[in-house]
């Protein structure tokens, strides 16, 4: 019976069965424990009033989601997160593509440039955000205002003026992630067979025509992938917002909330974990919708 199922002792089939039992099953088990169960539990928790500091938990149906509609802070963070996507996504794609196209012209120093552009992406967010908080510092010792004033412009209250602050943080987010997009676009461009480029040169096409008619259409799947990544990252931005708006003193920072910030505050400061899970679900659904919309847009053209 056992031999029929997993092979005779010492056979290759028996060996494989042992290997599956010894490695595959434990890893799958861990995977289910640290990924699948938490994801499903979030879903379940979002329909309860679970609060870590209160013993009684009950099923409340859609109440959490209804409450979200009347929650001004949630609405504000929702709008801010959407603005994050609407500004960061096009900026990252356009800048990333432009720089990748420039890099993809058989330059000897290409590797060096690529490394320099990639550095902000690879370095940790906390120190990077602290540097930018300081660049945006109010008054005259912030680097951004120093340059503005030397060029004859007025100072800007980068992190103080509530109209500017969110976009200032988004600019930092774009700067931090740009290296990733450049590298991915460059890989895509390099995958285009050189014949295309040679043929277009023989036909007398300008560089501009080659880019618009040949290269961009070919790397469309890459652009789709990067715009999906850009929107997910923008929606789940947290560390940069947390660091740059938590002022070290009274002079810096307005409270700007985004979705993940609200998840953190509701769940881990107020311990309203059911409610926080509902925000998680909203975040998940919004990112799913964005991904589906992008797939649609890219397929139809």
């Amino acid at each position: 019976m056992l031999n029929a199922l997993i092979g005779a002792p010492g056979s290759i089939r028996r060996n494989k069965a042992y290997f599956i039992m010894a490695i595959f099953l434990p890893v799958v088990f861990l995977f289910v424990v640290v990924r699948v169960i938490p994801i499903l539990s979030t879903l379940a928790l979002s329909f309860t009033n679970y609060n870590m500091q209160r013993p009684i938990t009950k099923f409340v149906g859609l109440e959490n989601f209804i409450r979200l509609f009347g929650d001004d802070i949630f609405q504000m963070s929702f709008r801010n997160s959407l603005q994050f996507v609407l500004v960061a996504l096009p900026a990252e794609i356009i800048l990333g593509l432009a720089i990748a196209l420039m890099l993809n012209s058989e330059l000897r120093a290409e590797g060096y440039f690529q490394t320099l552009f990639f550095i902000p992406y690879i370095l940790p967010m906390v120190p990077a955000a602290i540097i930018w908080q300081w660049i945006y510092a109010p008054g005259n010792f912030g680097l951004a205002n120093f340059f503005l004033e030397s060029l004859g412009f007025h100072r800007v209250g980068w992190l103080i003026d509530s109209k500017v602050a969110l976009n200032a943080i988004i600019a930092m987010h774009v700067w931090k992630n740009l290296g990733f997009f450049i590298v991915i676009f460059l890989v895509g461009l390099k995958d285009i067979p050189p014949d295309f480029r040679d043929a277009s040169r023989v036909d007398g096409a300008t560089a501009w025509q080659r880019i618009w008619r040949i290269e961009l259409p070919i790397i469309r799947p890459v652009i789709l992938f990067t715009s999906v990544m850009a929107s997910i990252w923008a929606l789940s931005a947290f560390t940069e917002v947390y660091i740059m708006t938590q002022g070290t003193d009274a002079s810096t920072g307005v409270e700007i909330s985004v979705l993940v910030f609200q998840i953190y505050v509701e769940g881990f400061r107020y311990f309203r974990m059911g409610y926080s899970s509902a925000i998680c679900l909203v975040l998940f659904i919004v990112s799913l919708l964005l991904v589906l919309i992008q797939f649609r847009l890219f397929r139809e053209k």
Binding site: T42, L107, P120
Partner: protein, 275 residues
């Protein structure tokens, strides 16, 4: 024509040089400022290079917070996570690439499906689990969500499926057990992919912020990132000290990156592209 292409390249080189310099200028400014006196940092007329070079910010740093301890904590967290990830990615990659059994595709799809779901969205149940296990404020709790790297499993599957079946079969016919095949054939032949995964995982676990922020409540367990965010407050107006702390936090990652830069860029490009 040739002349036009050449001068075009000169212009491109200049534009790219300027852009890439602007791109990393914040870091250059940071490093130089960490050697400045406080009064030369907060000034109406900043200079690029320090007026007076000083190490006082760095000496202040060691007094203000146990950064060496934070550094060791980061090493422990990233190290253990990377060890788990290496074993699980290579073994799972081997099985997914070379085995055939019922349910394999189901498990594979399950792993791929989780790549795009941000970890933030399921922190709450994970936190409740480690609380039930008594792992809040322990290394185990911080490392807990970092033991699996879904995109790494996918990456290794792609790499290992390119290893010829003949190599594996001949080793099996020689009487090797699957563990020997895994250890003596699969691992050596996927070395460079494993190195890429290890480095990428190392760098990204090093940068994790929100999870350790939730789990580590005592200073003893702070990673570099948390320590930096926390002790920034104790410096208050000591900008120089904050700058020095940032430099100390950046250096380990920067060094790893500069040593392994080709592998890191390839690894990220691949795991990014194919997922």
């Amino acid at each position: 024509m040739a002349g036009r292409i050449k001068s075009g390249k000169v212009v491109l080189n200049i534009v790219l040089a300027v852009l890439s310099f602007v791109n990393i200028f914040p870091f250059i400014w940071l490093v130089l400022s960490s050697f400045k006196l406080n009064k030369d940092i907060i000034t109406e007329t900043p200079t690029l290079f320090p007026v007076v070079w000083t190490l006082q910010n760095y000496t202040l740093l060691t007094k203000a917070a146990p950064f060496l301890r934070f550094f060791m904590n980061s090493v422990i967290v990233s190290g253990v996570s990377t060890l788990f990830v290496l074993i699980s990615c290579s073994a799972m990659g081997y099985i997914f690439a070379k085995y055939n059994f019922k349910g394999k595709n189901f498990f594979f799809m399950m792993i791929i499906a989780t790549i795009l779901i941000p970890m933030y969205t399921y922190f709450i149940p994970m936190y409740l689990t480690i609380r039930a296990l008594g792992w809040v404020n322990t290394y185990a709790g911080i490392i807990y969500p970092l033991i699996i790297m879904s995109s790494g499993i996918f990456f290794l599957r792609q790499t290992i499926s390119m290893i010829p079946d003949d190599l594996i079969d001949s080793s099996r016919i020689d009487g090797s057990s699957e563990f020997r095949v895994y250890w003596h054939v699969i691992i050596p032949l996927s070395q460079s992919a494993l190195a890429a995964i290890a480095i990428v995982n190392w760098v990204f676990t090093w940068s994790r912020f929100l999870w350790p922020l939730i789990v580590a409540s005592s200073e003893r367990l702070f990673t570099m990132e948390i320590g930096l965010a926390y002790f920034r407050r104790s410096f208050m107006v000591e900008y120089g000290g904050t700058m020095a702390a940032c430099v100390v936090t950046l250096i380990p990652v920067l060094v790893v990156f500069l040593i392994f830069r080709t592998r890191i860029i390839e690894g990220i490009a691949f795991t990014g592209m194919k997922s």
